[in-house]
């Protein structure tokens, strides 16, 4: 199987100003995305996901390294890549407000040279699939943020690209809209042979549910890359627990315990919910001891099945958000 995307030693830095050092957004990345794959980039804000997508979508040049998309070099052959890709960014409000939803989509379909009959049919189908049919003739400035975001997802698919880049496509959307988008992406890749989707997200569940393979990225580096199932196997050797405790000072002290690979803490009123990935169960005794020493009391303790979040915790040592 061919690779839709190949990155070799890809580095991208942004020049700082007098007070700020240069920022390394991508640090010597090697990455392959296979044709026909639904590939996820999972990482926190600022990890480098969007920078990578911009380079692949020919919007940004790499500082060094070699990147090919659909077999073409992103620096020298962008004009050969562009007819075959599209890109959607979540959390943006792009669109020509004075045009209707249908006009916006129609115009982009024409820039891609889609024949009239096919474009009309495809727009109607996609508007129906994304529950926007009743807004087709509404001016974009009059529709809600979520509807506008769905319109942009439709814009991405209306050109029927071979490779689509979806940068946090469900960011800020309600549960139903997110599900609609996820269902469509999954169907699009599965039902059309050879179509590839590269999706970035910081929602663990989204990556786990959607992607054939996931790359975990943090601070510009790929920390792991495999199927969600294989990634989870990495932490199945570890012990994953959730503890509910009363409030206590210095949650960070848990991270200093020998054998704790990562943890997250979440405060809920008077109580704290802590998720811990540890090398072995025996570490738990010291964890409880530390909590008690800081004035806390363990209310409940559960051993849990590992998730992608635990993989991230193990690799990075901290939570995703």
């Amino acid at each position: 199987m061919n690779n839709a995307v190949e990155c070799r030693s890809l580095t991208r830095s942004f020049k700082g100003n007098a007070k700020q050092q240069a920022i390394i957004a991508l640090d010597n990345i090697d990455l392959d995305v296979r044709e026909g794959e639904l590939f996820g980039l999972l990482g926190p804000n600022g990890a480098g996901k969007t920078t990578l997508i911009k380079i692949l979508a020919t919007l940004l040049l790499p500082s060094s390294g070699k990147v090919t998309v659909l077999g073409y070099d992103v620096e020298r052959e962008a004009h050969k890549i562009r007819p075959r890709i599209n890109m959607v960014s979540g959390g943006e409000f792009s669109g020509y407000g004075l045009l209707t939803v249908r006009e916006n989509l129609w115009m982009f379909s024409q820039f891609y040279g889609i024949p009239t009959r096919i474009a009309k049919q495809r727009i109607d189908e996609l508007l129906h699939d994304f529950e926007l049919a009743d807004k087709a003739d509404a001016k974009v400035r009059t529709i809600s943020t979520g509807q506008r975001q769905r319109m942009n997802v439709v814009r991405g698919f209306v050109t029927d690209p071979d490779l689509i880049f979806l940068d946090e496509p469900t960011l800020g959307l309600d549960v139903n809209s997110s599900r609609t988008i996820r269902d469509y992406i999954r169907r699009w890749v599965r039902e059309q042979n050879g179509k590839t989707a590269l999706i970035t997200t910081h929602y663990m569940m989204e990556a786990e549910e959607l992607c054939d393979r996931v790359a975990i990225i943090d601070r510009g580096r790929i920390l792991a890359c495999d199927s969600p199932c294989n990634l989870k196997k990495q932490v199945q050797r570890d012990a994953v627990f959730t503890l509910e405790t009363t409030q206590f000072a210095d949650l960070d002290s848990i991270g200093h315990i020998s054998g704790v690979k990562g943890y997250t803490g979440e405060t809920n009123g008077e109580r704290q919910k802590i998720r811990i990935v540890a090398e072995e169960e025996s570490v738990l005794a010291e964890v409880i001891q530390v909590i008690a020493g800081k004035g806390g009391k363990v209310i409940s303790l559960t051993k849990v099945e590992s998730t992608l979040e635990d993989v991230f915790l193990q690799l990075v040592g901290r939570g995703l958000i």
Binding site: K54, A57, L59, L60, I85, E92, G95, E103, M107
Partner: protein
């Protein structure tokens, strides 16, 4: 194949531009606005003239020189500014520049397409202004004596030239958000000062006249005046050149500007991709 793609890009970019220019209000208000705006803009210059010379009849040739130059200068202000502003508008306001940029279209062709709506609207404004001048202010232009072939050829070349310069400014706009307006206004101001828009270039110092001879807008405006009112040749400072010579000069200077504009756009495009400027939103 490529020609078809370019024509398709121009068609839909022009359609988009037209929707954005005309769709913001009711057709009636749009027409009223399109008539009143150019007339008011022209009256500013007319009143300045009247303050100095008291009457249109005091020097009808100078008045015609000024009025025709000012009317056609609207193309420079509107189309040139309009094309370069597309970058700012699409990137900052509509946040669509990156979507347009990665579409399989030729970006300069898209810019020209967007400029076509400006050309249409400005043409209406120029016609309204000239009609106002002839009918109300007594501008001594006889429409039956206009050299239409010269006017049409000069118009086509001139508009091509303005689009070319607009493309260069759009390239610069790719790299800056804050200074985009200033650069546009600065360039338009330079052309207004040096190209014989409202006063003959003979009023300029010799170095200023040298600049005027380098800018194609100078020849374009002169050819337009000659086609409409040949009497203005006597004061233009370009009487030594025949219309054919001026046409050649216009063509050569356009080709030079086209060459440099495409280089500027290509380099700016490279820098914008290198620096990550194509999707920046600065709220300017």
């Amino acid at each position: 194949m490529a020609v078809n793609e370019h024509l398709r890009t121009i068609r839909w970019a022009a359609w988009l531009g037209w929707q954005m220019e005309s769709n913001w209000t009711s057709p009636f208000l749009f027409i009223i606005y399109s008539i009143i705006k150019p007339i008011m803009a022209t009256l500013i210059v007319v009143f300045m003239y009247l303050i100095i010379l008291k009457s249109v009849n005091a020097d009808p040739v100078l008045f015609s020189y000024m009025f025709i130059g000012n009317a056609f200068y609207m193309y420079v202000a509107q189309v040139l500014f309009g094309i370069s502003w597309v970058v700012h508008e699409d990137r900052e306001h509509y946040q669509t520049l990156k979507q347009i940029y990665i579409a399989p279209i030729n970006f300069p062709v898209y810019l020209v397409g967007r400029g076509i709506s400006k050309i249409i609207i400005t043409t209406a404004s120029v016609i309204v202004t000239l009609a106002f001048g002839i009918l109300v202010l007594g501008l001594p232009v006889n429409i039956w004596k206009i050299d239409w072939p010269l006017l049409i050829v000069a118009m086509v070349l001139g508009l091509f030239c303005i689009c070319t310069i607009g493309i260069a400014l759009a390239g610069i706009s790719l790299l800056t958000a804050r200074h985009g307006t200033g650069i546009n206004e600065g360039v338009a101001g330079v052309f207004y000062l040096f190209c014989g828009v409202i006063f003959p270039i003979t009023f300029l110092p010799s170095w200023g006249q040298s600049i005027a001879f380098f800018i194609p807008i100078t020849y374009w405006l002169e050819l337009l005046r000659r086609s409409m009112m040949p009497e203005t040749i006597s004061i233009s400072g370009l009487a030594n050149y025949s219309a054919q010579e001026m046409m050649v000069l216009l063509l050569v200077s356009i080709l030079l500007f086209l060459f440099f504009s495409l280089i500027i756009l290509k380099y700016a495009d490279f820098l914008a991709r290198k620096k990550g400027k194509l999707d920046m939103t600065t709220a300017y």
